[in-house]
Amino acid sequence: MGDEFYQRQPLLSEGGDELHSLDEFSPRTRNGSAVKIDIPEGDKEGNFPKERWKTVLSIIFVILAFLATTTSLSITHELRPAHSNPLPDLILDNIPYYSWALDVSEILIMVITTICAVVVICHKHRWILARRVCLIIGLLYFYRAITMIITALPSANRQYKCDPQLNHTITATEVLRRVVKIMSGFGLSINGQHVYCGDFIFSGHTMILILSYLIISEYTPKKLWLIHWSSFLMGIGGVISLMLARGHYSVDVLLAYFVTTRLWFMMHSVILNLQLQQPHSSNHLSRVWWWSILVFFEKNIKHPLPNEFEIPRPWLMCWQQVTVKHRIRDPARDI
């Protein structure tokens, strides 16, 4: 359907999507001998192809990353030194301990991630935004899956209830059962499903708090300063509560901050600067392993996403498909 559409639409810009909104569709472009007219830069703001299939791929990527992390945690639980004392920690050893602070931290995480989800879903270019968010979350969870298993730290909080370790080598079935259990709780302790310990380096709670703040501040208009400040304070509050509950060591939080922010900066530099999507020898960012994945996702996005919002209307997708199909069947109708 798409190819026939393009053959007759010579004025379509490159990277056009299969489905266009009704506004962009112009019957005057039907004439096959039309000449390409260079469109000045200002008029090209509207070309953000949805490419839903790429978003689906990124969702699969993030699901694989979640599976990797939960598998890693299931195994780390067996490897960790269950009886060792918590390591000396600059911050943890000098602040009071409150067991309820972990619940506070997780409630803040739930609030900030909900706001973040609303921002993504109500964004006009939600498919593109979702793709970026899934990619970065996937990368961070893959990194976390590796760092938590390679060196297992003792529990930072002796009073946190961890399931006992098995007295035999863990089998694949047991790993699978644990994966399902952890995923059913979304990795949070507040619902009692997080009984497998050892996931210290680096802190997933800190990572999600910082990432949610970055997404909210980047993809909402600057005038919504109240939301930006609220999410910033929620992030800070979440991290402080996490430390008060001895949920993580200081080094976990520090590393999570660095990995999340640096990955975000690098990804957005590549996204917003097309020269960094070219494979030159002087483009050092092309040497990171995920560069080609990112360039593949962002190939057809040539401008920064304008921060526009709308209520999503999923039923419109079906309406568009019906009307477009109808016009394809009779292309000369409106000339």
Binding site: K36, P88, A152, R287, V288, K302
Partner: protein, 368 residues
């Protein structure tokens, strides 16, 4: 061929097609490409999407950096040495080393006594006690080789400036990470000095700093008896940085040097782990941090657009971005691969003029 031309006081990169005829509207390396970058605007008929992609990728293939075709006379780029900036970065790196050393001594007092932590690599390979010494020998060799390559480079001052700056940043990070959470010894057999078990007098602190500094932080000379510096591995930082410097600034065509450097660094890290000098997570974090900071820095300095503070330039939010702008203010673009003797220019002119005089004197009787 990519040429850097001066335009309105800024250097702009211009992309030319393989046959050296410039396309009518040369691709400007601004933040966003103009919409007609897929092909020449004189093409009357629009190609289908597929061949548009092809032509776009052809343009990409053609735009490769080709340093050998140096800019013409009118486009000669000047890379000022600015040794004062290099000295500043050297002091910055020195400060990083000293702070790391202070941090190490304080961490040593806090280090827990327990068993080494479970580690997926360390627990499954045999222990090689001499591995640490070999790793340090490889590290020293790697550092010497990198120094040799940089010294032989014409723009050694700029390269040293970059290396000192990046190492300084990494050492500052290191001082923070190994102090905040203290890990137990990864090698039960490694000798660590006894703790003070009380407050450490300042004089003792200073003498320990001197002791470690004179040993360069290496275990090979038995000065490194203070333990606890695990996250992240300084040995790995040095090995990886030497490899990156050699591949970045060494002769591009000399694959042998690059491969030797790669294997030296790889075996340096491997023997470090086999000797249980560090946990696996220390090495991994050191590798990730060193490579990302190096690549991030070099991406910024090789692009005029990314040296500006704009909303679209996410890398400008890094804390050391303004320091980078100061250090690289007068570097017009990617450093060309040129090599020369590391002598001051005045000496070189003196020697060259003396040599020419001698040749003239020798050849005079023949011509008369």
């Amino acid at each position: 061929m990519r040429i850097l031309k001066e335009e309105n006081g800024n250097y702009v990169e211009e992309c030319r097609l393989q046959n050296s005829s410039p396309i009518q509207s040369p691709e400007r390396r601004h933040v966003f490409f103009p919409p007609n970058n897929a092909g020449s605007p004189h093409t009357p008929l629009l190609m289908s999407t597929d061949s548009e992609d092809e032509s776009e990728s052809k343009t990409e293939e053609v735009c490769t950096v080709n340093i050998e075709n140096a800019p013409t006379e009118n486009e000669v780029l000047v890379f000022p040495d600015e040794w004062h900036k290099t000295l500043m970065t050297m002091l910055f790196m020195g400060l990083g080393f000293i702070i790391t050393t202070f941090s190490l001594i304080l961490t040593h007092e806090r280090m827990p006594e327990g068993d080494p932590l479970p580690d997926i690599f360390l627990d499954n390979v045999s222990y090689i006690s001499w591995g640490l010494k070999l790793s340090e020998v490889l590290m020293i060799t790697s550092i010497f080789a990198a120094n040799f390559v940089v010294l032989a480079h014409t723009h050694r001052s700029i390269i040293y400036r970059r290396i000192f700056f990046l190492l300084g940043i990494l050492y500052f990070y290191r001082a923070a990470t190994f102090y905040v959470t203290a890990l137990p010894k990864s090698d039960k057999l490694y000798h660590c000095d006894k703790k003070n078990n009380g407050s450490l007098p300042f004089s003792e602190l200073v003498s320990r700093v001197v002791k470690i500094s004179t040993g360069g932080g290496l275990s090979i000379n038995d000065n490194q008896v203070y333990c606890g510096d695990f996250i992240f591995s300084g040995h790995t930082v040095m090995l990886v940085t030497s490899y990156l410097a050699i591949t970045e600034y060494g002769p591009a065509r000399c694959f042998l040097i690059q491969w030797i450097s790669f294997f030296t660094s790889l075996f340096g890290v491997l023997f470090l782990l086999l000797a249980r000098g560090h946990y696996t997570v220390d090495v991994l974090i050191a590798y990730i941090l060193t490579t990302r900071i190096w690549w991030g820095y070099h991406t910024i300095v090789n692009s005029e657009t990314l040296k500006k503070i704009t909303k679209e330039n996410s890398l400008s939010k890094l804390w050391w971005f303004r320091l980078l702008r100061y250090l690289e203010a007068n570097v017009p673009g990617p450093i060309p691969s040129r090599y020369s003797f590391p002598l001051p220019q005045a000496w070189k002119s003196c020697i060259t003029s003396k040599f020419h005089k001698k040749v003239k004197v020798d050849s005079e009787p023949e011509t008369s």
